[in-house]
């Protein structure tokens, strides 16, 4: 009962936020892309040279695989923050003083995450037959096949993601942006271990993604080609030969296997019992404890002197005017402050590395280092609830926002300074211009996404995906300004930078009275 109440309250809190409706709208839009038109130049799911026929099994497989492989990444970022919200709103401290056990609390949070993600699955279950009818290759709908594929594959994956999200929130160092990055790599390695990106599929029962069983069923069909690579997002629907897919019979062990993964999701959440502090430690406490050990607290007697009334020295009028440089320095200090010593050492190491090895791939690779610093831009006022203080200072749009951006640019320039110096010395002007356009672009992206979303997550995940694709898609250097070898793409990146800055400005204008 307690679990249901915890999950219900948390779920209601989330569905009443505008972001829930946005998520559903995005899901509906993406659902249309999962089933490309018959004359499209891309295919969502291919087996070797074949694409799947658009009957209910084929469409069910497309939805199921997309949910399993792609939604498992985004779902984490969608549901993350449930425990953190209780920490920030201090509701957690109230819950911690009740009889609710930690296990109950964590399972309640997992259930809330899972319910939220199930809303997505429900929407996709509605969208799947609609898309089948819209594409109209096969008009007979087998709703049982659609439902079984979407829910037997998708729900256990969502359960695991829901559990991992809760677990991450209970581990102090994975609570924030570092957890966002860590999950991206966990997800990438999970897929790689499945062999999905390669050619082998692995063993079905040990497959948390749930794609091996239905896919083996397709392979077992008499009309299936000899074993060939399974690909997501490849080929061309218009040009590929069509493979008929027959209804999949789910065996009892296969269903039990999927239900086991579903239960494993709750188990992962319960693992959080070990690191979870049950809201005992407010944020920042660790630093203070160390400080307090070194410098004991002030005595009660000195505390009693509080607000000793005295006249303050009046501030001369000429001491108060626009000082843009001071604001940039202050913003830069805010960016760097709180970073651990090893982060600064790493930054120095990257500068030296740039002097020694100015390769484009390396330039892109090292941009992962300040991702958590960039991601604070544009949303810091909301995250730390300082908007009321910052937006009542003079010119919060024309002064503070550009200063925030320029502080980000300076940090990026420092990061890339070794590379830029080496490129200057070797007269590689095109490469230097490319790096400079990247130096301008990345902080603009952070600022824009931070301003419009009010969180760091949107930038963190967008950047990671971009970074990963840019590093791995060797045939497409234009994907990243620091990789590009064409002078024509640089103005495009500068235009994108300008557009992003415009987005950030409009986002800030929305929050500030003019």
């Amino acid at each position: 009962m307690q679990i249901i109440q915890i999950a219900k309250a948390d779920f209601l809190q989330r569905v009443r936020a505008p972001s829930f409706m946005i998520m559903l709208i995005l899901t509906a839009i993406l659902s249309t892309l999962f089933v490309p038109p018959l004359d499209a130049n891309y295919a969502v799911l291919t087996l070797g040279e074949h694409r799947l026929r658009y009957n209910s099994v084929g469409i069910g497989l497309m939805f199921a695989f997309t949910i399993s492989v792609l939604l498992s990444l985004f779902a984490f970022y969608i549901v993350r923050n449930t425990v953190q919200r209780d920490r920030q709103t201090r509701v957690g401290q109230i819950i911690a003083t009740t009889q609710t056990s930690t296990v109950t609390y964590l399972i309640g949070k997992w259930a809330s995450n899972l319910t939220l993600l199930s809303a997505n699955l429900a929407l996709m279950t509605i969208m799947a037959p609609i898309m089948q009818l819209l594409r109209a290759e096969v008009l007979t709908i087998n709703i049982v096949q659609l439902v079984l594929l979407i829910w037997l594959v998708g729900l256990p994956v969502m359960s695991l993601v829901a559990g991992v999200a809760v677990l991450f929130e209970t581990i102090p160092f994975l609570r924030g942006g570092f957890g966002n990055i860590a999950y991206f790599f966990v997800w990438t390695f999970s897929l790689a271990s499945l062999g999905l990106i390669g050619t082998d599929l692995g063993i079905s029962i040990y497959d948390p993604f749930g794609i091996a069983y239905p896919w083996f069923a397709v392979y077992a069909q008499p009309n299936a080609p000899s074993i060939q690579a399974l690909n997501l997002l490849g080929g061309s629907t218009r040009l590929m030969p069509v493979l008929d897919v027959y209804p999949i019979s789910w065996s009892l062990p296969a269903i039990i296997g999927r239900l086991s993964w579903m239960a494993a999701g709750a188990g992962v959440a319960v693992l959080g019992v070990i690191p979870f502090d049950r809201f005992a430690k407010p944020q920042g406490r660790k630093l203070v404890n160390l400080w307090e050990k070194l410098f004991p607290k002030q005595s009660a007697a000195s505390g009693a002197k509080a607000f000793e009334v005295s006249r303050l020295t009046p501030l001369a009028t000429d001491r108060v005017r626009s000082r843009f440089l001071s604001v940039i320095i202050a913003e830069l200090r805010l960016l760097i402050k709180g970073q651990p010593w090893w982060w600064l050492v790493g930054l120095g190491g990257i500068v030296i590395l740039g002097l020694l090895e100015p390769r484009p791939e390396l330039m892109v690779a090292v941009t992962i280092w300040p991702v958590l610093v960039w991601s604070a831009q544009g949303n810091r006022e909301k995250t730390h609830d300082t908007a009321a203080l910052i937006y009542t200072t003079p010119h919060p749009v024309v002064r503070q926002l550009p200063a925030t951006y320029l502080a980000g640019v300076i940090l990026t320039a420092v990061l890339m300074s070794g590379f830029m110096l080496q490129l200057t010395l070797s007269g590689a002007w095109l490469a230097l211009t490319s790096v400079l356009s990247g130096v301008l672009l990345i902080p603009a992206l952070a600022l824009a996404l931070g301003t419009i979303s009010g969180t760091a997550r949107l930038f963190e995940i967008s950047f990671l995906i971009w970074w990963y694709i840019a590093l791995n898609a060797s045939g497409f250097p234009a994907l990243h300004p620091m990789l590009t070898d064409s002078p024509a793409t640089i103005p495009v990146y500068l235009a994108v930078t300008a557009a992003l800055l415009m987005v950030a400005t409009l986002g800030r204008l929305r929050m500030v009275v003019q």
């Binding site: 920042g284 203070v288 000793e308 009334v309 303050l312 001071s326 200090r333 730390h384 203080l389 009275v513």
Partner: protein, 283 residues
């Protein structure tokens, strides 16, 4: 120096007005903004502090409706505010000083004075993330005073302060009030009683009264009664009258009632307090 609040109103999306036709002209001194929860105080503060745009009307600071002109002279202590937990009090105040356009040299002196004033000198180099609620509130007070504001808006400023700090804060406000406008919003009547030169009573988005404390009390003369009743009679009086105070006495329960006529034949007229006036106007 003058702040004109001209017929402002704020309508929210669902059509409800949290503030309506609110007009007030303020001159140097402390104006206490009193009202029950949901009266519209925070909306009014947010509009005057340039955080919220009114649906109608305007706010003029020395004749100008430019928000940045007001922001230059504004010190604002919101009821709820956050800080950057990794920064120390000094660093946070340096950051705010930069945003307020104060030169580094002037800021250095000012920050030192303010940290002394709010008694945070000993903790000034510690990360704010580990401060107690009262210490954070004092950082908030310091940042509000950074730019030597001509208009100081403080929303529930004594929340989180211990009794001694509260008394000292009241004294600070009184001391600062000679050459600036201070708007003090609170539901703690004693805070207003101790510091305010004028009191604006607000309820359901409307200004009910704007007076000096003496004038406000004068309007309550003859409307506050003192009487002692038995425990059995208590429910009747609580239901029929506005009881502003109760005291247990050996002879029964002593009640303080706000009412136009005597609630009982043995009731005695007594001197009104601001709390009586607050209840009399807003209940």
């Amino acid at each position: 120096m003058e702040l004109n609040i001209e017929a402002i109103g704020k309508q929210y999306k669902r059509g409800t007005w949290s503030l309506r036709d609110f007009t007030l002209t303020l001159e140097p001194g402390v104006v206490g903004l009193l009202g029950p929860n949901g009266a519209g105080k925070s909306t009014l503060m947010n509009i005057v502090a340039t955080l919220l745009k009114p649906s109608e009307g305007r706010v003029l600071w020395n004749g100008s409706d430019d928000p940045n002109a007001l922001r230059r002279d504004l010190g604002y202590l919101p009821q709820h505010f956050g800080v950057y937990p990794n920064l120390s009090a000094i660093e946070f105040l340096q950051y705010m000083a930069a945003l307020k356009g104060i030169s580094a040299k002037a800021a250095k002196t000012r920050i030192a004075e303010l940290l002394h004033l709010v008694n945070l000198e000993d903790a000034a180099r510690r990360p704010i993330g580990g401060y107690s609620g009262g210490m954070r509130q004092r950082v908030g007070i310091a940042q509000a005073l950074l730019n030597d504001p001509k208009l100081l808006i403080v929303d529930e400023p004594t929340v989180g302060l211990d009794p001694a700090e509260r008394v000292r804060f009241r004294n600070l406000i009184a001391d600062l009030a000679t050459d600036r406008i201070i708007i003090l919003s609170t539901h703690i009547v004693s805070d207003v009683e101790a510091t305010a030169h004028t009191i604006a009573l607000i309820n359901k988005g409307h200004l009910l009264s704007y007076n000096t404390p003496d004038a406000l009390l004068a309007t309550m003369q003859g409307r506050v009664w003192d009487l002692t009743v038995t425990r059995d009679d208590l429910p009747y009086f609580k239901e029929q009258y506005l009881v502003s105070h109760m005291n247990q006495r050996p002879e029964g329960i002593q009640l303080r009632i706000v009412h136009d006529e005597a609630p009982a034949s043995h009731a005695q007229i007594t001197h009104p307090t601001l709390e009586d006036a607050f209840l009399g106007y807003t209940a």
